[in-house]
Every structure is written in C-alpha cells, then in structure tokens.
Amino acid sequence: MSESRTLDVGSLPPGAFGSRSLMWWGTIGLVLIEGTVFALAIAAYFYFRTRMAVWPPDGVAPPDLFWGTINTLVLLASLVPNELAKRAGEHVDLRRVRLWMVVCLAFGIAFNAVRVYEFAHLNVMWDHDAYGSIVWVLLGLHTTHIITDFLDTAILAVLMFVGPIEEKRFVDVEENAAYWYFVVLAWVPMYGVIYWAPRLI
C-alpha cells in the first residue's frame, strides 16, 4: 500500500500531562458537577435568608469564627505541598512526588481533624431549623470532599511507594493535585457563606 494511504501513529508517546490527558477531562467533569452542587447549596442558603427577617433565625449565634478561619488557613497552606507534588509529577520525579504527597497527607489529617471542631462550634444543630440544616449540609458537602480527597491521595501515595509504578501514574499525581485545588478553592466561598454571611447580611 502506498504511504499516502496510511497515517502512522506508532511513534506517539503513551501518555500526556495536563489538558492533553483524558484524566484531566474526567477531573474537569467531576469539578463541574461538584461545583454545581456547591453553587446550588449556596443558592439555597441565600434563598432561606430571603425568607427570614432575622438571620440566623431564632436567636441562634453565627458559627464561631476561630476554627473555621484556622481551617481555611490550613487548607490554603496545603496548596503549597500540593503544587509541589503536582510539579514533581510533571517532572516524573519519584522522590519528590513521594515527599510532597506525604506532606499533603499530613495537611489532610490536620484539616480533617480541625473540621471536627468546626462542626462542634457551628452553634446550631442540623435538626434545629432550616438554617441549621443548610449550614450542616454546606459544611457536610465540603467535608465529604476533603475526606474522599484525602483517601484518594493516600491510596495514590501508597501506590507511589509500593508500586507497580508506571509513567502514567505521574499523570494521576498531576490530576489528583488538580482535584485537590478544586476542593480547597471551593471552600473559600463556602467559608464566606457559612461564617461571614450571617454576620454581614
């Protein structure tokens, strides 16, 4: 057969980073879905707000600022090892990937632990009224994400230690970091809504 009748793709690499990879698109799809859930939950919060004269209703105090603010700082700080892990993945640097993923996990334990205190200091129970319900659900939705993100990262980290390690695992490290970014950055508006909205509006 003549050369012009074939397109030979045999020399193409067996993977790619960033938005060239299929996993990136899968991760973006998940981000769009979860982002929509967060956005709608926040919208529901404000919907309840418009129905009430006083907010929080029923003389309830707003959630204590201390633990929520601490955790926001911890979460934002975790972006540093996260970014370093991501870059290590892109450079296919196994040693640094292992190092920074372990540091990420340490942060993960920290912010999951502080989250327990956040729940304890919301100053309202989920079954008190609609305000209590939406605040617990907002915090609960995000907590589901920090727990699952921690577990994802832990499994991947274990894999990077025990193997089998192939090059495409480093793409997974990069995508896992992207998802970690989403989970942390999505917290910022939620923090604003849970902790500051009842004080400002």
Partner: protein
Amino acid sequence: MKRPLELPHAAEDVAMLEATWAEPSGFIGWLSHVDHKSIGRRYLVTAFVYFLIGGALAALMRLQLSRPDSGLIGPDLYNQIFTTHGTTMMFLFAVPVMQALGIYFVPLMVGARSIAFPRLIAFSYWMFLFGGIFLYVSFLLNAGPDVGWFAYPPLSETLYAPSRRADVWAQLITFTEVASLATAVSLITTVFKMRTPGMTLNRIPLFVWAEVVTSFMVLFAMPAVMLASTALILDRLVNTHFFDVEHAGDALLWQHLFWFFGHPEVYIIFIPGSGLVSMIITTFSRRRMFGYLAVVLSLVSTAFMGFGLWVHHMFATGLPQLGESFFTAASIMIAIPTGIQIFCWIATMWSGRIEVKTPMLWVLGFFAIFVCGGLTGVMLAAVPLNTQLHDTFFVVAHLHYVLLGGAIFPLFGAYYYWFPKITGRMLSERLGRWVFGCFFAGFNLTFFPMHVLGLHGMPRRIYTYSGTMGWGTLNMTASLGALLMGCGVILFIVDALMALRAGDLATDNPWGAGTLEWATSCPPPNSNFIRPPTVAGRDPLWDNPPDQPVIVGLRADVRDVLVTHVLDAEPDHRVEFPEPSIWPFLTGLATTAMFIWSIFTPWGVVYGALPVFVAMVGWFWPSRPDEGGTQPWPIRHRTLPRPNEAPAPGGAI
C-alpha cells in the same frame, strides 16, 4: 457513491487485534465486560424493558380511567402506579436510552476504538440496572413510591408519607443520576479527545453534537435534583428541616431545585432525539444537512435557554408577576432555535432525493407530533392560559406530544436505522410500516382527546372521576388508543425477535449513509475498525477521497487507543485502555448496598462506604506491569514530554 475504504491487512495482526479487544465469555466474564458495544447493548435492552414496564403501568392507568367511578384500582395502588410510571419513563427510560445510543454509537461515529473511561461506563450500567430493580422490587412489596414523579413536599415528608415509599423514590434518583452523570463525563471526553484525525469540530456528526450538548446539560442539571432528593432524605431520616414550614423550611425551595433540573431534563431527552432526526433526514435525503452551523448553534442555544425556563412549572404558586413574565418570554423564545432546526430539516428534505424507508416514516411522524406539542407548549407559556390548564390533562397531552414526538418517534426510527449495525440483521420494512401505523394512530387517539379533557376541566393524578362530569367518552377513546399503541409495541417486539432469528443479513452500509459507524461491518468487529479511518468531510463515506488515509501503528497486543487534540483532532498521544474488570460490577453492588442501607439508617452511609472504598481501590489499583507491556520502574527512557517541551503538532490540547 464512493466505495467504502478497503485495504489488505496482515491476517495475524488482525487476529491478535481482535483477540485483544475481545470480551471474556462466561457469567463472570459477562460481569467484567468493559467494551462500549457490549455495555451499550445491555443499556439499550434494559432501558427497553423499563419502557415496557412503564407502558404496562400506563395501560393500567388507562384501564382505570376508561370509565367513570371505576372500582378497578383504588387510590393507594393508583398513586403508586402513576408515580412509578412517571419515574420509570423519565429516569429509567428516556434519558438512559439516549445515553445508551451514545455509548454504543458515539465512539463509532467519531472513529474511535473505545469510549473514554470504559469501566466508568460499565459502572454506570450496573447502577442503572440495580436502581431499576430496586424500584420494581419495592413496588411489588407495596412500597412503590406514591407521591408523584416530582415528589413535592410536604406531601413527601415523613408526616404525610410515613412509609418508606418516598425514600425509595428519593434514592432511585441517586442511582439514576450517578449513572447518567458518569456517562455524560465519558461522552464529553470521548467526543473532545478521541475523534479520528481529520474530524475537526465542524465535521462532527450532528447526533454526536447532540450527545455532547446533552451531556453538558446533564452535568449542570442533575446536581439540582440530587441536592433536592438528598435534602428530602435528610428531612425524612435525620430530621433536617429543608422543606418543613414549622421550622423555617420552605416548600417552594423544593420546586425551584426540582424544576431547575426538571426543565433541562426534558431537553436532555429531546436534544438527542433531534440529533437522531438530523441523522435520519441526512441519510434518507441523500444530502448533507442544510444549515449545519445553524443546527449546531440551535442545539447549544436550546441547552443554554433550557436552564432559564423552570419557573413556568410554578405559575400557579403566586409568584410576582414581573418574574413570571421573564419566564414566559424565555419559554416562548426557546421555540426559535427549535424552529431553526425544523426549517433546516425541511430545507434538506426539499433539496434532497428522498427514500421513505421506515426510519424516515418515524421522522415524518415526529414532525406532526412534535410540532403540535411545541405549539401547545407555547400556549402553556402564557400565564393566563397556564393557570387554567396547569395540572390538567391538557398538560398530560402536551408533555406526551413533545416527549414521544420529540424523542420516542425518532428513537423508533433509530431502532430501525441502527438495528442492522448492532445485530447484523435487517428489521422488516413491511412490519415496520405496521408498527409505525399502529403507534402513530394509537398515539393520537390516546393523547389528542386529552387536550379537550383538560379544557373541560379534568385535573391530573386523579384515580377516578364522576360520571356527571361528562369526561367518560373521551377517556374511553384515550384508553382504546392506548391499546392500539400497545399493539404497535408488541408488533415491534415481534419484528425484532423474528429479525434476530431469520432477518435479512445486513451489508456494511445498507442505507448508504455517510457517517463512520457504517465504515465497518454489521455488527462491528471487537476493535470497532480493523484499520481506523480518518475523515476529510462531514459525511465521510460520501466526502472522503478514495485514498483517504487509515490509521496504522496502534498496538495490536494491548487496547491501544488514539487521543487527539480538541479543536482539529490532530493525533496527540496513545493510551493503553483497561482490560475487562470485575471491579465496576463490585463497586456497583457495594454502592447499591450503601444507598439502600442509608434509607433505613444514616449509619448506612458510613458503614456502607467501606465496601465501596474497598471496591474502588480494587478498581484503580494497577495490575502488574509485565502484563500488558507497560514500562517497568525505574524508567530508563522517558517517553512522556515534559509540560514545557514542545507540544505535538496541533496545539496544547
């Protein structure tokens, strides 16, 4: 007409290729399938079974309503029947069947060997199957949901719905939404990243565009109903107060969340239908679609506008008039992009060389029925009319005209069109005409009288009505029409079964169509294309020059798949796709257990999550590197380009 692409191939390569892409046999093997064609077939069959169940429930409703004051079915059973009918058709049939067609055909139509994330697609199927089984087992145990397919609180709250029925409904939502969302992510990735070289954005088949647009709508709409149903489960299970008026909750919040999903939902059903119409008209008019760009933009703008209409389901609640006017305007204006599609279709037919085979017959039926439904929709968009017609049989007529007209008629057309590709056999043209005739006549006999019944004041969701209302004759007519429709469906099943046993064998391209799924055998080989084609036009089998290149160089010993750039489909890299795996099935089982358990206790989420976690670890944990030929560690020769290295020709993505 151009000859289909043919090349000599080395026989051993082909045998290895086919063996690599073959799916395992045996029962455990069947549970491990990840091939999109296998999953697509299952999805289509299961969705059709659900359609039959939903239709049987409708038949029971028509039986009960055929006469006034009928004592056949009491209110409790009737409420379960109409709720399960609506829930089945909307969640377990209409959306999944369109996604199933996408699962089977989108990879073929874009020239790929697989769908993106095949194990995710397999998981999606298991959630779909288990969700349906869960619903119908509940129904048989007298725990079928009975609060309407839309489950408005407070009726669906514990105080007024104390049994588990409403929990079954809410959890079914979770099953089906997980299945649909997974499929949507996969389809988007497939269409953007796995198109064969040459298939630039403006050469993507219209049905594929429809599936992509629909998938985006799924991503943004389904979270709304998931959030709402989760809030309902929480209200019922752990005493939150989202919709509970006594504790600052709000019954209308449910309606906003539900219809923010519910209106896009109907476009999620209709847009793939319109993609099927575009496809069938193109093939049977023997010319490229007129106004391709206009049709694509219409699909996209319909999707966007579809998110701005939801309040038209709430005109009777007494919202401020200015707000209502906005939604009236949007509801009327969305007819414009739909109209553009219709006129482009007519123009294509007008200038084509038409052969009226059975698929085309169904498209003609679509025109009549969908346009009628669209016009009653415009009527309903007007608030003063709406407050009279809302919640009457006029709306029942409208919704069936648009949904069956806009989606199911094209779907049956697609069944006739694509049956040869999936099975290798032709359905019967003669029987096909009878099926169409029965269904079309039966449909109009059933649903047209309902417009009149609504205008005469008959409300929806009533298990009986008094003889003094004068509604008896039209109801009896509708019931007889339903019988005729049922005959059409039975005839279709007969046609399909007969064809499977002894139908005419199909050639590769029995309709002389132009898209890539017809560039391979009927049914396709395991690898979809022995030599994947590239394209030089929008209808490749009509447009490609005889020497259009085919792809070589993909490995035959692993499931090697080509990934291309988003905009221009230039080749970028290859990926080794996964072998068959039991883990999607096991994850589906574990997730099902968690979902069902959590209806009974909130700890079900916690304890149920553990097996899910284990299954997912099993899913993602890679097999040993010496199976499948990937590079062992330590890596001696880097093959992946670093992020700052020059990207492959064609750009960064």
